[in-house]
Structure formats: structure tokens, C-alpha cells
Amino acid sequence: MGGSAVLQFLQLAINGTAIGCIYALVALGFVLIYKATEVVNFAQGELMMLGAFFGYTFVSIWGAPYWLGMVGAVAATALFGALLERVVLRPMVGQPQFALVMLTIGVGFLARSAATMVPGWGTGTHAIATPFSDDAIVLAGAGDGRLVVSPIYLAVIVATLLLVALLALFFRFTRYGVAMQAVSQNQLAAYYMGIPVKTVFMGIWGLSAGVAAVAGLLLAPITLVEASMGFIGLKAFPAAVLGGFGSLPGAVAGGLIIGIIEALAGFYLPAGFKDVAAYIVLLLVLLLMPQGLFGRVARKKV
């Protein structure tokens, strides 16, 4: 029946959007760092994982109230990100990009394994008690032909929208946001304008880590908290590439599109396609439209 096929499609689209929001947030943090410092942060997924674990520690182990724990987790992860930049990355200023990428790969390995060694975290999976109910919210229809969204998914979508809006305002209207933009576009000019570039870098890493933490906390109720949850962060690559690597709105758009494509592939295509759909999209984009949806191609001047 035509109606239920459309309903099925819409349902998948909604679910895909929710997961896509997670991808969008990880990609957002990822592109933030890349735009400013040209560093590809392979440990972005691990920052997300840390955010989730901090949330678990504050709420489920130490018993803090949910919202306080969430804020605390974001702050703790942001601090971790800033410290990471200060201690590990700042000595590497001016080194070739490849070395920095390898560094973040190493940090990823380190973070992933260190997480399994923290008492209370370990290699198992954990859940954070959330105030969201499990009952699905009905959006349309009735009986079998219902369009539903789980409260968690709804929370994810709403939180992402809020965060993206906040960030847009931040970059446009606050001094720090504008300073970050300046540093992203031209380091030397930013120096000349009196902007403390190195401190801004730290701030960018902190902000990016905070965004990753939000993604992790939103993801936690869906996939549970565990040391290898950072692998979902790998989807940041297709999202960022699809959006055009230097574009923040592109990263968000890319994440959403990848999420929806994955959900659709999982249902309409044979088994196995769901896991690789994002990467097939990535390859297609790279081959056909390397600048992505919002990016621009740059050319070397000799």
C-alpha cells in the first residue's frame, strides 16, 4: 500500500536524522579543528567517548543530578581537549600535517586503551540513567500506520538544533567566536591583530571537545557507553567530506545526510550495505565532487 511505504520512508528518515545529528556534531567538532589548525583529529571519536564516560561517572557513579552531570561532563571534556592541545599539540606547531595526523592517531589509541584501564569504566558497557521515558511519541497516524519518534531521538534532534544555533551565534557575535574565525582564516594576520593565536587554538580544541562530549552524551542512551564507542566517530569523515571539508554548516548537513542515507540503506538495500553506505558516499563525493556541497577548491600558486 502506497501510504505505508511513504510512512516507512518517513520513519526511516526520522530515525536517520537522529543518528545523523550525532554524526553532525562529531563532524562539526572535527571540522572546527581542521579549519583553524589544519589538523585532522583522528581522536575526535575518542573525545566523544570520554564525554560519555564522564557523564556516566558523574551521574551513575557519583550520583549527581542528570543535568548537572551532563554539564559537568561537557566541561570536563572541554578542559581535556584544551589540555590535550596545550600539552601534546602545541609543541608540534609548524610541523607537517602528516606528523600531526599521526599524533592524533596515537592519542586515539592511547585514549581508547586508557579508558579500559580506569577503575569503574573497564571494557564493559554501561548505561546512564536518563530522565527520558521509553514510550514512543506518536507524530502522526494511528494503529499500525503510525509515525513515531522515541523521546531520546527527539532529544537528540532538539539538542543538536539548539547547539548548532548557539554556535552560529557564538561565531558571529561574540569576540571569542570572531577571533576563532580570524585564526581559522589567516594565522599571521590574526597575530598582527593582537589575537593570542595559541590561546585561541586551545579554545578551539576545548570547544570542539565540548561539542564531541555533547554528541557522546546524546549517543549514550542509544548505544550505551563503552570504550570502543569512538569508532562511530569515523563517520565524521564521510560527513565532513560530503559537506566540504572547511565548512561548518557543511559538516552539519553532511552528518544529517549520511545518517538518513544509512537508515534508508539499512532497510532498502541488502545486508551489509548499511555499514558501508557512508563510505561509498564518501568515495563517490571524492571522485565526483571533491569540494563537497559547500566547499571550495583551492589551487597552489607557483
Binding site: 595526523v101 592517531i105 596515537g106 589509541f109 579500559t116 545486508a271 563510505y279 561509498i280 571533491p290
Partner: protein, 358 residues
């Protein structure tokens, strides 16, 4: 301090620059040949493991170290080589056909990903290889009619005139022979126009083009060669494992290979060997430490990746030229003693260089 007086062009071309090199490498070769008779079979197996990873590392070194094309998905070629070997042996093909086919199929896969991505700049190429590897991993898991997917594929023995080449000493000699042949081939390549062209592509694509180097041809050659060598290593690895599953060829293995070449020393053949020694020695080192350190530390499953990541970070921060680089610096220090200056290898910082426009 050694001075090399070159009086003929041959002196510049030949592989061994001076008598000392001939002596030491000769000694190494002799040790390599005698090892299976002098060492316990466990260590022979470990040495074989080192050689297999060195071979895989050499493949990646050709692409990333020499041509400057970073590959984050080399485990794909490793896996394709391994599965080709197993599948063809299963179908009854005699030695050395499955091995050659493994190299060939992997090389083909290299061209498959190399050709369309010619125009992509460093970072995007790396991401493309990454995506390629993930797709290959999924294909290996899903193509059950050939690969048995996640159920696993047993690897039949490889026989020549009744002798089982996939175990013990014969396997060691087979692996050593392949490694030595590949090393010689690569040394030849590096002293020829193609080798120089690959290095040129790494250092300046525009200048390479203006000197007549057709980028598409040489990049594709680099991919094919690199994938083929790693595929060959994979075929040998299949026998080491005895039983294949797609889980042995994931993103983590690709990253391990990359760490292997970076820690070993990017841009040198020695680097692949040193890197392989590092990768195989690490778990061994942990096992030995188990006897001396408290159980609370050594029994953690995450210890190995933790040390792996930590050592990588330390090398990037303090010795970007890798183990081989450090060895060269040490040799240089002794050659120059006592007039060696601490600032000889100080790294230069360039603040405004952008990699977005290479």
C-alpha cells in the same frame, strides 16, 4: 670518519657503497640463513612474523614513504592477498601460483583505488583509502560463497614436491627469500628513474611534472607496486594465521601498518624492518615484563594498544625520523665525535606554510 672517494660513475650507482657495508650485510644474510638451525622453533616463528610485517611495511613504505601518498587502508591489500592465497590453494592451485596471484590481485586492487583518486590531495587521498579499506573489509565479510565470511576460512598448506612450505623452517626460508627479492627489487627501483620520479612526486608534484614525470602513470605504478608487495605479505600471513577471518584485516591493522612505517623511519627501506621489529617485539616485551611487574598492570588487555599509542606519540614528538633516523643520528654522532654539535638536527618551524595548497 669515513670518506667515500668516488672515481667512477659505478661507485655512485652500486648498491654497497663501501667494503664495510658489504661485510655487515653479508653477516646479516649469513645470520638470516643460519637462524632456523640455531634458534628454537618459537623464535624462528617470531622471526618469520617480523619478516612478514617487514614485507607489508615495505609495501606501504613505497607508497607513503617514497611517493608521499598516505594510505590509511593498507590492511585491505594485506587481506586481499591473504584471502586470494587461501582461496586459490583451496581450489588446488600449486605453489607458487597462489602467491603470485595474491600479489597480482592485490596490485589490481591498488590500481582500482589508485587510478580514480589520482587528483586527490594528500588528506583526501588518505580518507579515500580509509573508506576503501572499510568497504573491502565488508566485502570480505559478506562474500560468503568465496570467503566464508565471518565463519572463517581455513588456509590449506602450500606444498612443493611434497614439502610443506607453510610451516617451520621451509616457511621461514620462503618468507626470507621473498623479502630479500623484494628488497633487492626496491633498491634497484630507487636507483633508477622510476624511483627518483616517485620521490619527486612526494617532494613537489608541480616540479616533477615540469620535468616530464606523468603523475598519473607513476602514482598508479606506486599504488600497484605497493599493494602487490603488501598483498604478497598477506598471502604469507595467511599461512601464519592458518585460519582467516575479516576481523584480522580491519582499520586497526591499517593504522598499525602506518605506525610501523612511521616509528621505523619513514622514507627508508630500513624503516620497514625496524618498524616490523618494533611491532612484533612489543607484545613480546609485555609478556616478558609480566614476570617482573605487578599483575594489575600487565594483565590489562588494553596495555598493548596503550603502549603502542604512547610510543607513537613519543616518536612523533621527539624523533620524527623514526628508529632508523635515530640510528643514523647516533652513527653520525660517533663519526663526528668529538665535534658533533647538539643543534645539528634541530627542527625548523614554519608558521605560515599551509598544506591546503601543496
Amino acid at each position: 670518519m669515513r670518506f667515500l672517494f668516488k672515481t667512477r660513475y659505478e661507485h655512485d650507482i652500486r648498491l654497497f657503497k663501501h667494503g664495510g657495508a658489504v661485510f655487515w650485510y653479508g653477516l646479516l644474510l649469513a645470520a638470516l640463513l643460519l637462524a632456523p638451525w640455531l634458534l628454537d622453533s618459537y623464535y624462528v616463528g617470531q622471526l618469520t612474523q617480523v619478516m612478514i610485517f617487514a614485507l607489508a611495511g615495505l609495501g606501504l613504505m613505497v607508497l607513503t614513504g617514497y611517493t608521499g601518498l598516505v594510505s590509511l587502508g593498507h590492511a585491505a591489500f594485506f587481506g586481499i592477498g591473504a584471502y586470494t592465497e587461501a582461496v586459490l590453494l583451496e581450489r588446488g592451485l600449486p605453489f607458487p601460483l597462489p602467491l603470485l596471484a595474491a600479489a597480482g590481485v592485490a596490485a589490481g586492487a591498488g590500481v582500482l583505488i589508485g587510478r580514480p583518486t589520482l587528483r586527490l590531495a594528500g588528506l583526501y587521498l588518505a580518507i579515500a583509502t580509509f573508506a576503501f579499506a572499510l568497504i573491502v573489509e565488508e566485502v570480505l565479510a559478506r562474500w560468503e560463497s568465496v570467503t566464508r565470511g565471518n565463519n572463517g576460512l581455513p588456509v590449506p598448506a602450500s606444498r612443493l614436491a611434497g614439502l610443506d612450505l607453510s610451516q617451520g623452517r621451509p616457511f621461514y626460508y620462503l618468507t626470507a627469500a621473498v623479502l630479500v627479492l623484494v628488497v633487492l627489487g626496491l633498491l634497484n627501483l630507487l636507483r633508477s628513474p622510476t624511483g627518483r620520479a616517485l620521490i619527486a612526486i612526494r617532494d613537489s608534484e608541480i616540479a616533477a611534472q615540469s620535468m616530464g614525470v606523468r603523475l598519473s602513470r607513476y602514482k598508479t605504478t606506486a599504488f600497484a607496486l605497493s599493494a602487490g608487495i603488501t598483498g604478497c605479505a598477506g598471502a604469507l600471513f595467511a599461512h601464519k594465521l592458518g585460519f582467516l577471518s575479516p576481523e584480522s584485516f580491519t582499520v586497526l591493522q591499517s593504522l598499525e601498518l602506518l605506525v610501523l612505517v612511521v616509528v621505523g623511519g619513514l622514507g627508508s627501506l630500513h624503516g620497514a624492518i625496524y618498524g616490523a621489529l618494533f611491532v612484533v617485539a612489543l607484545p613480546q616485551g609485555i609478556a616478558i615484563a609480566r614476570d617482573h611487574l605487578p599483575d594489575a598492570i600487565t594483565s590489562q588487555p588494553g596495555l598493548e594498544p596503550l603502549l603502542f599509542g604512547l610510543i607513537l606519540i613519543l616518536f612523533i614528538l621527539f624523533e620524527p625520523y623514526g628508529i632508523y633516523g635515530r640510528w643514523l643520528k647516533v652513527k653520525f654522532y660517533f663519526q663526528l665525535f668529538p665535534v658533533y654539535k647538539r643543534a645539528t638536527f634541530k627542527r625548523q618551524k614554519t608558521y605560515t606554510r599551509s598544506e591546503r595548497l601543496r
